[in-house]
Amino acid sequence: MNRRGFSLGRIAWIGENTLREARRQRLWLLLVIMAGALGGSARLFHDGAYGVPEPAFLLDAGFGILDFFGSILAIAAPVQMFFSEIERRTVLTVLAKPVWRAEFILGKLGGGLVLLGVFCAFGVVCIASLLWWQRLAMAGACAGAAEEGGRVAYSAVIAGGMVQWLRLSVLAAVTLLIASYARTSLFALVAGFLALVICNLQNLACQAYRLADSFWVRGAARVVGSVLPDFGLYDVVDRVKTGAPLSAGYLGGITLYSLVYVGVFGSLAVYCFRHREL
């Protein structure tokens, strides 16, 4: 019998199926909520110059909201997508076909990353639209005020959105790894949120421990700092606020950093799932 090779087509179909289900489950409602939160915050805090919000505030609020809802989506979507297959036992029907378990996991991961990509693209469009509206409003209030309000580099906003997508992709891969060995969706959700907190704070902890006298404590801090991704590296709002585009070096480095973590966590998820009894 011929060897059954690994198929990118099957991974794409599993990802497509995952996306179609997410769309029909009305996950896009989260986009509407995010757009509402962005619009609402811009309307609420119109206390900047000329009665319109400052670009810096819009960027802070916009990326903060993107981060908040994106993190929820990056944790909830993989857990939901994975455990719904387990609980409905559709995973048995899929894997009873000549499908590698790795294809199943990579399809789920791929579908999740595309979903997060759509989410971030929509968030960036919302933020850019609000900034554009803000400039129009300032220009209408007083000639030359738009320039006073500070320059807005839309390319930096787009790059910032991409960086957020990379961060959420790493988080989704971590969550999928947890889901691949967790027995319940509740455990995977809680552990996913714990991972988010750890990844956000690990840099601070490691910095503190690196100052310790003990060689072992310093070494452990370095190891922990390498094993878990540092989400502090993805904070780009302050750079975007300067109006200067994000450097190609930073973007290349953070992309590589994210790819390594997504690759490692994705591979570990495949490993765990291969040994899971269904």
């Binding site: 019998m1 059954r4 087509g9 409905r88 036992r89 048995l92 899929v94 894997l95 009873a96 076909k97």
Partner: protein
């Protein structure tokens, strides 16, 4: 040709904390010939589903060997020619029946050319043509069962593994299912099904394997097992009305029972019940 070959198969599950283990399958050996329709029988917890999952490579055996068309069941290649219907199947509720079967057809490796027609034909074969473009959420349990059959059949597999295929299906649907299995047998397909519908098993299956507490306790041709269970049927025609009492008394004196009106399909049932007699003391297996 042998479709499924199992040798000394054992499966242990961990039971909670510590080193405790539950033996779900205990040194099972059996062969299922290609082209046969075989029933896997046994009380709940006897290990039927575990055995089916090992054949499908969904579970790894603790010991022993399982081959499907000569390929070890843990390998992806062993599932190329296999269709599977899980027990009480449930599918993506937000997708339509057509989308679900198309998805599984792609997973089964059907090429894009002619995919639409093949999916439509599989759905029509199980009588769901009119509901093909409705979402699964609106399907009854019986319709989901039929859809499960459609996705199992869509790649026209050489081996069909069906876990409780007629549960949730009405009698008319069950009769249609019997016809479908006979058509598959005529086309040379191998069918392995687990069922509690013993009357139907007697009608459509060539062979049966009885499991209890993870062990094979009976195996053989269904008609032979039924005869052993004492369910032989003797047709009587043109007997005068006054001779019935005489016949009943004659049979009674020899330990027989005269059933009037319908065929007493007790043969296989009796074998099954005798096998499961001690089931009350059985420790249930986890799967």
């Amino acid at each position: 040709m042998v479709a499924i070959e199992i040798e000394g198969l054992t499966k242990d599950f961990r039971s909670g904390a510590g080193d405790g283990r539950i033996r779900a399958l205990d040194r099972i050996s059996l062969r299922i010939e290609a082209g046969a329709v075989t029933a896997l029988l046994g009380p709940n917890g006897s290990g039927k589903s575990t055995l089916l999952k090992i054949i499908l490579g969904l579970l790894a055996p603790s010991a022993g060997d399982c081959r499907v068309f000569g390929v070890p069941s843990g390998r992806v290649e062993s599932r190329v020619a296999v269709g599977y219907l899980p027990e009480a199947p449930d599918f993506y509720p937000h997708l339509t029946g057509f989308e679900v079967v198309r998805f599984f057809a792609r997973m089964g490796g059907l090429p894009g050319a002619g995919l639409r027609e093949r999916v439509g034909a599989a759905i029509a074969e199980v009588g769901l043509g009119a509901a093909a473009h409705r979402r699964i959420a609106t399907y009854s349990q019986g319709m989901r069962q039929r859809l499960g059959l459609a996705q199992a059949l869509v790649t026209d597999p050489w081996l069909l593994i069906l876990d409780e295929p007629t549960s949730g299906i009405d009698p008319a649907g069950a009769a249609e299912f019997g016809g479908l299995i006979r058509r598959l047998k005529d086309r040379g397909r191998t069918v392995l099904l687990s069922s509690h519908q013993l009357d139907q098993v007697e009608e459509i299956c060539d062979g049966a394997v009885l499991l209890d507490r993870g062990r094979v306790i009976e195996t053989g041709r269904v008609d032979e097992l039924a005869r052993r269970g004492g369910g032989g049927l003797l047709g009587v025609e043109s007997l005068p009305e006054n001779a019935w009492d005489e016949l009943r008394a004659w049979l009674g004196a020899r330990g027989g029972v005269l059933h009037e009106g319908r065929a007493p399909r007790a043969g296989l049932r009796r074998v099954f019940l005798e096998a499961a007699r001690d089931g009350g003391n059985r420790e249930d297996c986890p799967r």
